[in-house]
């Protein structure tokens, strides 16, 4: 797979006021902090009907009959629809990954099930009515008769002979199989002196955004408007057009305030299509908002890989090759791009290391669970996890310091083409590790560790040096002829100066908490010579600005921000021509200094952007042939991805009696290029670490052997809170990317991609005296305790995978009986 890239973008200096680089407070925060932001569920339209969805309690079953009569009779119920009623949909949910020459099984996935169900929570019917409580009552009256089928929840079991087949038409549970090789992998392992191998279960997690999904559709005068809690309004419009058989000019999609996504709203869900279909059918607004239970069961999950990884090396530590076999649990149906996710693992399988040969073999598998798709990091956290833990193991095998092993193999020349065709744009891996160690003081820690061990206190340190691929991305590499995504990955921007000099900037990205309104305003302000407070950044509405590609894959700044910068520079260039004309100078002699467009060498002659806008919108005296207005657009498609990197270190303490892990210190140095706003970077790093600490220590989506979701609430799904995580010690280095003129790389996923192996390695380092060498996440107290017991010759250790295990009859609650019990007497 060839990847273009490595061409160096021309770097231009911004002209303006030096707002880029400042840690400005977020423009978004006042409305968010004071509760004035408008989320989808806040919106009320006259005559709205509420939708309640009848969901399958079965993980795998044929639908024998659906009786909606009792529900229809309830007061206030206007309609009940089933899959048969939606027969006029033009297409099922599209899955946009179709790699050339690879067969991918994509079963029809309709908003309401047709004939059978494949996971618990699959929508079977929808009840619509004027009262949002009444429709839930009515949904309980929809009687569905199921014929249960055998269930399979473990992806390796699903591949075995005789396993229940989820989609009979394929005769197998295999979704696809493909390989991303580079270099001579056979020689790599033949020539290796040492080969280490690991099986790592990277378990299923949830996005768990605080705002659940919500969608409100209105059909009025032949046009459809959908407000939705989504990361991808522009893409959603294209998909609604395909599924509803309605042209895009008749559809508007708005993402109002969106309360977190983490990839879980990088999706077009059946419920979004369903409310649109219902609104058109009934001619009334239709709203649906997920309950937390619906959110946990039917908002796509992430990870869920079983990884078999091998690294070969010479005795001196020089690595010869890495091979990974990834078994990806796809769930029973696909959403927009789930099967492509492990390919992102393959992109970075070389890590920071100069492997002369790499190969990733991927098998996607159907199971009777909900769909997996992109969750923060999407394939790259899994890759870092397996690479870093296996490098640690290799260091032990070679009796070599794990950091020395890393440094010996760090890639040092940039741009650097990896054996599988990817070109790392820039980097300085030693520099981030040096700084991280300086902050950590490893020698002092090792002394402390030894002293504590004497007293039976187990502390350990773990490291992760990572590189990630982001800034999605170059359309030639990602698109139909590259690795097969059926779309482009440019980003759009439009920068409009108003007649009196303030600015509106439209971006095709669709932020949902990141702070684009602040960071993009800083970029525009410097280029036009205004202050960020008069730059309004508009996003998330298909009826404003050009068609865009929205927010995911840490792309917003490296692609969307670059588009904004380029559009602003077009405006600046036009402004300079106008100023030159008015001041009788050459355009190249006009410079922008502190908000003044002045003639180089004669700073007393100057105009402001407001003066220029006046000339542009009252075009009495413009340069020959110039159009009126001060409004420019840019579609930017990068030549390469961007490759952020860094070094993370975690010190944890393990209570060896109980298995509890406490993170004592967390030190990290990340490099995402020159900072636009360091405050926004810190926020992303902090959140990214917490996300990965969540996976490493707390969170897991668990299904039992019947395919029932056990972790359906925040009691059971142990999302950590601020009280559970440590403070972070962060710093940055700034290595510019040659890919874009800002020199920036993405940062939204970086810390999540980096962190989990550092946490796990710290625990393994702590427990080394007890003989523990490996534990799969999440490192819950019981699993750590079981690992210690097993290392001491007691018990079998924690189960390698918890999918499909049987739970005790009183089980279900993660840390208490919780809201799962029978009715009780007395007050409560």
């Amino acid at each position: 797979m060839g990847v273009p890239g490595g061409e160096t973008a021309e770097r231009t200096e911004p002209g303006g006021n030096g707002f880029v680089g400042q840690a400005l407070r977020r423009k978004e925060d006042p409305r968010l902090i004071t509760g004035r932001a408008t989320y989808t569920d806040d919106m009320v339209l006259p005559g709205t009907l509420y939708a309640a969805i009848v969901r399958s309690p079965e993980a795998h079953a044929r639908i024998l009959s659906i009786d909606t009569a009792a529900a229809r009779e309830l007061q206030g119920v206007e309609a009940v629809f089933t899959g048969e009623d939606l027969a006029d949909l033009a297409a099922p949910c599209p899955m946009v990954w179709a790699p050339p020459g690879v067969e991918v099984h994509v079963p029809d996935h309709w908003p309401l099930a047709r004939g059978k169900v494949g996971y618990v929570g699959q929508p079977v019917a929808v009840v619509l009515g004027r009262d949002k409580y009444g429709v839930v009552d009515a949904a309980e009256q929809v009687m569905v008769e199921y014929d249960s089928l055998p269930v399979v929840t473990d992806p390796e079991q699903a591949l075995e002979e005789g396993a229940p087949i989820i989609h009979e038409e394929y005769g197998t549970n295999k979704v696809f199989e493909w390989s991303l090789p580079g270099g001579d992998i056979e020689a790599a392992f033949r020539d290796a002196d040492v080969v280490v191998e690991k099986r790592i279960v990277n378990h299923r997690t949830a996005g768990a955004a605080i705002e659940p999904r919500s969608a409100l559709a209105e059909w009025r005068e032949g046009k459809l408007t959908l407000w939705s809690a989504t990361q991808i309004p522009h893409i959603c419009r294209v998909i609604l057009s395909i599924q509803l058989g309605l042209t895009e000019d008749k559809i508007r999609v708005v993402a109002p305030e969106v309360g977190g996504g983490f990839g879980s709203k990088l999706q077009v869900y059946g419920e979004e299509v369903l409310v649109c279909w219902c609104a058109r059918k009934l001619g009334k607004p239709v709203k649906w908002t997920a309950t937390r239970s619906e959110e946990m069961a039917t908002t796509h999950h992430g990870r869920d890989q079983i990884d078999y990884v091998r690294i070969g090396a010479k005795r001196d530590g020089t690595v010869t090759g890495i091979h990974a076999k990834i078994i990806q649990d796809c769930g029973s149906y696909h959403l927009i791009e789930g099967p492509v996710i492990p390919t992102f693992s393959a992109c970075v399988i070389s890590g920071c290391y100069d492997f002369p040969a790499v190969q990733t073999d991927i098998v996607g598998v159907f199971t009777n669970k909900f769909t997996t798709d992109a969750i923060r990091g999407a394939g790259r956290p899994e890759a870092t996890h397996m690479i870093e833990l296996t490098m640690d193991e290799l260091a032990r095998e070679l009796d070599m310091d794990p950091l020395e092993l890393r440094r010996k193999n760090f890639i040092k020349e940039f741009p650097n083409e990896r054996p599988h065709g990817f070109i790392y744009d820039s980097g300085d891996y030693d520099a981030t590790l040096d700084r991280c160690l300086e902050m950590l003081d490893l020698e002092a820690f090792r002394r402390e560790q030894a002293e504590l061990r004497e007293r039976g206190v187990y502390r350990g340190v773990g490291f992760s040096t990572y590189v990630e691929i982001c800034g999605l991305g170059p359309s030639r590499a990602l698109g139909p002829d590259g690795w097969g995504m059926q779309g482009g990955y440019f980003e759009s921007a439009q920068v409009r100066v108003h007649p009196t000099g303030s600015v509106t900037a439209y971006t095709g990205t669709s932020p949902h908490g990141q702070g684009h309104e602040t960071g993009f305003a800083q970029i525009v302000a410097d280029r036009l010579g205004v202050t960020p407070d008069v730059v309004d950044v508009i996003h998330g509405d298909t009826s404003t600005g050009p068609f865009g590609k929205n927010t995911y894959g840490s792309r917003s700044l490296a692609v969307g921000g670059e588009a904004i910068a380029r559009a602003a520079e077009k405006v600046q260039a036009k402004a300079k021509r106008i100023v030159a004309h008015k001041l009788e100078a050459a355009p190249e002699d006009i410079e922008l200094v502190d908000g003044r467009y002045q003639v180089r060498g004669s700073p007393d002659k100057a105009m402001t952007i407001a003066d220029v806008a006046g000339e542009a919108y009252i075009p009495a005296d413009l340069p020959e042939g110039m159009e009126a207005g001060l409004d420019e657009m840019c579609f930017y498609d990068p030549d390469n991805f961007v490759w952020p990197f860094g070094a993370h270190a975690c010190i944890s303490e393990v209570d060896a009696e109980t298995g509890r892990v406490d993170i004592v210190r967390y030190v990290c140095v990340d490099d995402c290029g020159p900072a636009i706003n360091p405050l926004l970077i810190d926020g992303q790093i902090h959140g990214g670490i917490v996300h990965a600490v969540g996976q490493a220590l707390y969170e897991q989506v668990v299904y039992d052997e019947e395919g029932q979701l056990v972790t359906g609430t925040f009691v059971d799904y142990a999302l950590p809170s601020a009280a559970d995580v440590p403070s972070f010690e962060t710093d940055r280095t700034e290595t510019p990317s040659p890919t874009n003129t800002l020199g920036v790389k993405g940062v939204g996923e970086a810390a999540t991609i980096a962190c989990s192996p550092a946490v796990v390695a710290s625990v393994l380092d702590a427990l080394r005296p007890l003989g523990v060498t490996s534990i799969d996440m999440p490192l819950t107290p019981m699993r750590v305790w079981q690992a210690i017991q097993a290392a001491q010759g007691r018990g079998d250790g924690p189960a390698a995978t918890e999918q499909g295990r049987t739970l005790d009859e009183h089980g279900g609650g993660a840390a208490g009986s919780g809201p799962t019990g029978p009715e009780e007497g007395g007050a409560s």
Binding site: G811, E824, G826
Partner: protein
Amino acid sequence: MIPADFEYVAPESVDEAVAALREGGEDAKLLAGGHSLLPLMKLRLAAPRLLVDLRRVGLTGIEREDGAFRIGAMTTHHQVATAGLGLASAAAATIADQQVRNRGTIGGSLAHGDTAADMPAVLLACEGEVTARGPGGERTIPAAELVRDYLTTALEPDEVLTEVRLPGMDGYGFAYEKFNRRVEDWAMVGVCALVRKAPDGSCEDVRIGLTHMGATPLRASAAEDALRGGPLDAGAIERAAEQAAEGTSPPADLNATADYKRHLARVLTRRALGAAAGT
């Protein structure tokens, strides 16, 4: 929150509340802080026809009387946590998070009878009692008889738990060791220890209460017996703690097998006894 349809009353007195419960029959439920009942209603695991809200009946406050604390059933966890009640305050301070402690009540928690809740084991270890008022008047229920099974108490459907009486436990050292995954979680296992030393430093009395180690809160009687009347050194505590899980049949869940819970009970008992004894 989208619960099933229900009626709601907020009577002004306990007697009116009892009358409302009586009228409502089996489909009526008392509402105190709401932090157990409302989540059940939200998930439609509970669908009472009538909610009888106790917010207007008073029943708040803590008084010291005859060496015991009389705690109104509607006293919040926060009030208990900050009232200097020794073990009860220490345990109440670990309940969930501050928002829950501001709303949840000691009476509600005890009446809910959740074996994973902290206060039932505290009441048991202190050998306290609760007062319940029903159509036939008031009665006293000793701690050991209050919780009968999972989420099942000795309270009748038309009774209101009005007051909690906790012996002051003067002269006892105390500790509550709660083990959970996140700070706001229910106890995976909780152990409360009360230790009174004799003048010679030996163990004059010891009480050990276990949270979430069975269908009801439990006393670790074997461990108590092993320690009572003997020395209170680390070795004795360790040996006693080894018996902390004796006779228990703890409910397993996603995060803890029964074996692991028994192991935790032993470790936490040793730690709680050590802290309570000051050794």
